[in-house]
Symmetry: none
Subunit: 202 residues, 4 copies
DNA sequence: CGTTAATCGAGACGGTACGTCGTGTCTTGTG
DNA sequence: CACAAGACACGACGTACCGTCTCGATTAACG
């Protein structure tokens, strides 16, 4: 499961009818659409195939489980991260944390995260490369802000900045999914940043 | 959905044969047992009913979705929280955070959390009282440790301690469910506690 | 099953709350009503009880199976047989045979007959007294017409008149239920009577 | 319902995997087997499907109600009619009528007839072609006996022989299903034949 | 007049069959 | 070979009835 079959196309010539490469991106796209309409439980291979204009076998041939169908979509969401650092530590942390909250709260792809997490838990074969990296653009960007702060002489040298970033991401997610439907407010984000910075600033 | 029917029993007489109150707790108990054997996807109403010695209709009458069946179990797990504070701030935070990680990682009920969160995410009618309170025993205990620290003059007065506790809980959960199957190690827990305490200690 | 419980009331003292004798006739009545609306398959104890304003247990206490509920109705239909013999053999046979066809074809109770027969077929314990006698009023009346014909010197002495009556009844029923939805027409009834009389008249 | 789907297969290509035509006859066959074991009430789609080595959906796809499942079987029974006419009118009528009584009384498929009739009554869409023809082999054979008798100069020219055949069939069925569990005895069959022949013979 | 006992309505109980739907595989004909 | 279409065996779903039971309330005859 979860293995890429792309190598087949790298090889000389697979003989037979070539794959319809129009279907490759159409399937995840259809998955997200259906998902927005029917919810995660209502997401069906049949519906996705129909929407993508493909047969069920075509979907299965690509080894697309429910989860795989939408992983790409989540990656795409995080790749859309577009908060340009202004240079101001507080301001950048606030903007970026708020972006994370809003992306997970409002974007259709963002709402998938808990479902992916649920599936990943208890399934050691879940495509870890995706779970590995989904936060990466955001994580890296925030870490870069801290590194810049360190360069500017604002941040202590002896702090694991990656861990600090996870503190921020963690509390956003905690409040989103276990916070009785009340995600962090802007003020609470500020408060969290203050708390984190307390142990980070010189 | 999710409405309490208890009031009917409190009222004079609900007419008709009264519900079998032996079955009420038996169903979630059976659900957790089955869940440990078959996993969340493999959890079947039929299996749960059989294990609980009840008919399928009896389960449906209780409006038990898969999730509702196990909410009580999760509450029970958190109620089992039994780390006695020693009085040492570092030590207590470490023990409690480690307990949380282990409970969610190892206990059958703990492994349900992401599934509950996923369900709650898209369902505003999800029994919020449960999501409200599931962390409470743990949260309150950790907050109490901080408060004691404040009393002892170790912790700053101007810090929102509840928010700090959420920082810890958040990072534990983040790494559990989105951390590529690599939960926080004991060393990383220590590291996180250091980071948090940096902004909290006087 | 099928045993009469009437003896209980004949016995000295029933003690306890007496049965609601208003419900006794209400149940078969409700059964026929429901049957006209929902068909035989759709006839459920629940519906009948509801319609009769009774509880399900009240119905079961009377040992009413689906079939028992409606047997009485069929008896009542046949008891309604009201064709007065004119004295003319042909005319009377025609009127009576036509009445039988129409009763079984049009009356709601009449349409039950094949269902009762089907049930009786595989159930040796089926209340035979009812199947015994359901045609009796009709059978007896037609036989009486033949007997009168014999008295009048029209009919042979050496013919089993009861058997001849069954020939007529049989063909009516055959064409009703196995005759591709085309019951005997008036002309065909005449034809059958001619055929039968051919072997009966002097 | 009851519509033939065969035309689709006759047409060029129905696209999609073709129906498993091995299952088509297997389903009624399994139905009769199960029916002999469990009775009509105990006949379950699940059981039939299992016995036929098919899935439940495969049965439903064939639009098989309980009744449709066994229609073919009844046709097969009547096709087994194998009483060779000896040339003697009385003897042949007796043998054939006795065969009919025994087939409906003893053969598992024969016992289905009242259930089919019950279903057909009140369902104008019931596959009439089957009810049309189920008696045909028998009917035609008996009529042929009468025709031969006419050829031999034994039978009157002005009698509707088909109607006479129905008189015989009707009384057999009447006594089978409404005759308080006492089908016609051999002597009674003789008696009925006598009565019928009385109006038929020259 | 209170006790006793069987009835009533209502409705939950453990079961079981229903007909639908989704799964992942397969089997066609057509590129 | 891949493709679309769709049938296949399987099995879970949620509903509906079954026949039984357990309630509180009712309604007599008996003590």
């Amino acid at each position: 499961m979860y293995e890429a079959r792309e190598d087949r196309h790298a090889a000389s010539s697979p003989i037979g009818r070539p794959r319809n490469h129009r279907a490759d991106p159409a399937i995840p796209r259809a998955a997200v659409t259906v998902l927005g309409e029917s919810g995660f439980q209502g997401l069906t291979v049949e519906q996705v195939a129909r929407r993508a204009g493909a047969g069920r076998a075509t979907v299965y041939r690509r080894r697309h489980t429910k989860e795989e169908m939408i992983i790409g979509a989540l990656d795409a969401l995080m790749a859309d991260f577009d908060v340009e650092p202004s240079g101001d530590l507080h301001e950048d942390l606030f903007a970026m944390t708020r972006w994370l909250r809003d992306a997970l709260l409002n974007a259709p792809e963002g709402r998938l995260l808990p479902h992916l997490a649920a599936q990943a838990a208890g399934d050691p074969n879940f495509p870890s490369s995706h779970m590995d990296t989904w936060v990466c653009p955001w994580h890296d960007a925030v870490e870069a802000v801290f590194v810049r702060g360190r360069t500017d002489g604002l941040v202590r040298q002896d702090v694991n900045l990656s861990a600090v970033v996870d503190l921020l991401a963690g509390v956003v997610i905690l409040r989103l999914y276990l916070g009785h439907g009340k995600p962090l407010t802007d003020e609470q984000i500020q408060e969290m940043i203050e708390a984190v910075l307390g142990g980070v600033l010189l």
